[in-house]
Symmetry: C2
Subunit: 376 residues, 2 copies
């Protein structure tokens, strides 16, 4: 057949390209798979490095493929013309592209009489099945995630409670202060906090996407959610622990132990062949049966207002797998977060998150760290 | 008319969304402009924050817009169904989308009988025309860029030359060591080095995209290229200086002064109405006339192997403007880098980069920093 599998994107934004060619670049590149051979098409700036680093059969230099019409106009050839020249040379007439393929480029190829076929998602199903090597690299990065959580915990241990504030070496402890400590340590660990981090306390903690700001309060829940990628492997880690400096209220303690039980229940349910939606609904029902309702409460969405877990790998959100309101059959080799949470104004926010590796008969927690609310 | 301008993307990856709605999120959101009103469609997790932060006329909650077919199947509605319900309610039948619009989503809307029109690029032409406020915010972030370059320079000043190495407090100075210093200081400045940084010496410096590794050598060119965004304004800075610790060879000195003259020539040529291609060709010809040829030399692309400048703003590469081999008329309010470079194996790599703000009669350099090769 004459079908070429084709991606054109920036590897920084579309990790399928890195997965396919093991080549990272700040500028867009083209990847083609045709008759079992892999090609990478790059600019002159990337050509030398691509020839050394890319795991493909051939690296092509874009400027070697020219189109007479464009040259006559005095402008360099555009992507569609370069790729047209390459596809003509290869003999490809049908292009299988990812759903994210840019519409404007698609129209240009259609105008050149190519047939475009949208590939089923994910473009590389094998990307979500981690082998032993990827698994051990994800354990490494997750260990660093927990080192950073440990740093926050150890710092909280050393604080002194003073009224409604925490003092560390005489200074008020803020979310910003703790985040800076984590960011500096992350640099030393080669751990890229590309999308920031969450250290959120009190009312901030009841909004799962609020990154937190201002003073950290005693006797309130503090959600510490750290997610970053290894500079070496580019794989992501992701973990959350919830702490309380000083004695927690009975309501917060009960909330914490319910979330913890929900997480344990989810972890026990995960194995090859299970539907992520069923796992998620089980946790949701468990919370509900303990009086923790999810939905609009005093005009605010409260309760278990997010999914139980998302796949992770070269992207922080790399689906499948997916443990949420949507059908998704988990498979051996998947790595997914398991992160139930409950959020109520007045009580606080609690989330506990680990990464697990799905196996035939269950799942294994990657790295791991104690789960304890109070720091007394 | 019934045309709705429509973007569906992740604001972290597509800053047009942030530009349009002043809302940042880690998950995809939909932006619609219809009959002069702006709408943002978000998930329940972002709803509260979006209502507070987004600069739009109305924030819509995705789950309020449901499709009976999907609900009967037990699955939550997908983006196309949610947006279909919203467009029906608004009365929109023609969708104007950016060229980057995902093909699979485009096909779903076409199947629902919408007419899709690809908007000319850029989607928001006003994005590339910076006003006084944006300009002053870009001066701020560029000042921080130069603070980081100054840190590298000051550290190099304090080194001791020992054979073919540099020592700082008795330790060998490496690219990694200098980068860590910069990364830690960047955190203190609220300066996000999201895409890394370049500190490249010797053979590393002759590859403009090589980030550098290993010992920094005396008597060789050291390219220090720092680019990052302000955590507050999300706007980018970008600057390059080239240093040499110890006496430079006469060849390197001549290379440096030629690049510097090329940069000054480019800056003098930039004004509203000028074609970026003409500016670029002028620099290329100047280099050529001084014996610095560009092209394949001993099987390697050498000389002036990249463009003279790229637009910058909410993205590090935000086009237009563009000063390279392609036609692009510069306009007042554009911010562009001016960064000619010359790269020759045996002599070294030199690049000098500033950002300029294009005005009616010329351009203004944002922030600024001395240009001096040797650190003696």
């Amino acid at each position: 057949m004459t079908i070429a599998r084709f991606i054109y994107d920036n590897p920084l934004k579309n990790t399928d390209l890195y997965f396919a060619a093991k080549f990272m670049s700040h500028d867009p590149v083209a990847f083609v798979e045709f008759k079992r051979k892999k090609y990478l098409v790059v600019d002159v700036l990337e050509f030398g490095r691509a020839k050394k680093q890319a795991h493909v059969d051939k690296v092509l230099l874009a400027s070697d493929y020219k189109n007479n019409v464009e040259i006559r106009k005095g402008n360099p050839p555009d992507v569609a013309n370069i790729m047209d020249a390459i596809f003509k040379k290869l003999g490809a007439k049908i292009l299988e592209v990812p759903g994210s393929f840019p519409l404007s480029l698609a129209e240009k190829f259609r105008a050149k009489k190519y047939k475009l076929v949208i590939a089923p998602s994910p473009f590389f199903p094998e990307k979500s099945k981690k082998g032993a090597r990827e698994k051990s690299m994800m354990v490494e990065v997750q260990k660093n995630t927990f080192k950073l959580i440990a740093l926050v915990e150890k710092t909280l241990v050393k604080t002194r409670i003073s009224g409604n504030k925490l003092l560390f070496k005489g200074k008020t402890v803020t979310s910003e202060f703790l985040k800076e400590l984590v960011q500096i340590e992350a640099i030393r660990l080669g751990y890229d906090l590309k999308e920031g981090l969450i250290i959120a306390c009190g009312d901030d903690a009841i909004d799962p996407h609020c990154v937190g700001s201002g003073p950290i309060r005693p006797f309130k829940s503090i959600v510490v959610d750290i997610f970053g990628s290894s500079q070496k492997s580019l794989l992501w880690g992701d973990a959350t622990r919830t702490f309380c400096r000083g004695k927690a209220t009975p309501e917060l303690k009960k909330l914490y132990s319910t979330v913890l039980q929900g997480q344990e229940m989810a972890i026990k349910s995960i194995r090859h062949g299970v539907n992520g939606r069923i796992v998620h609904e089980k946790v949701l029902k468990f919370f509900d049966s303990h009086g923790y309702k999810t939905g609009l409460l005093n005009g605010r969405h409260q309760g278990f207002i997010h999914g139980t877990g998302h796949g992770i790998g070269l992207d922080i959100h790399e689906l499948p797998p997916f443990i949420a309101a949507k059908d998704c059959i988990l498979e051996a080799g998947n790595v997914t977060s398991v992160e139930p949470g409950l959020y109520y104004k007045g009580i606080g926010g609690v989330r506990i998150e680990d990464l697990v590796y799905v196996t035939k008969n269950g799942c294994e927690i990657l790295a791991g760290y104690p789960k304890k609310l109070e720091i007394l």
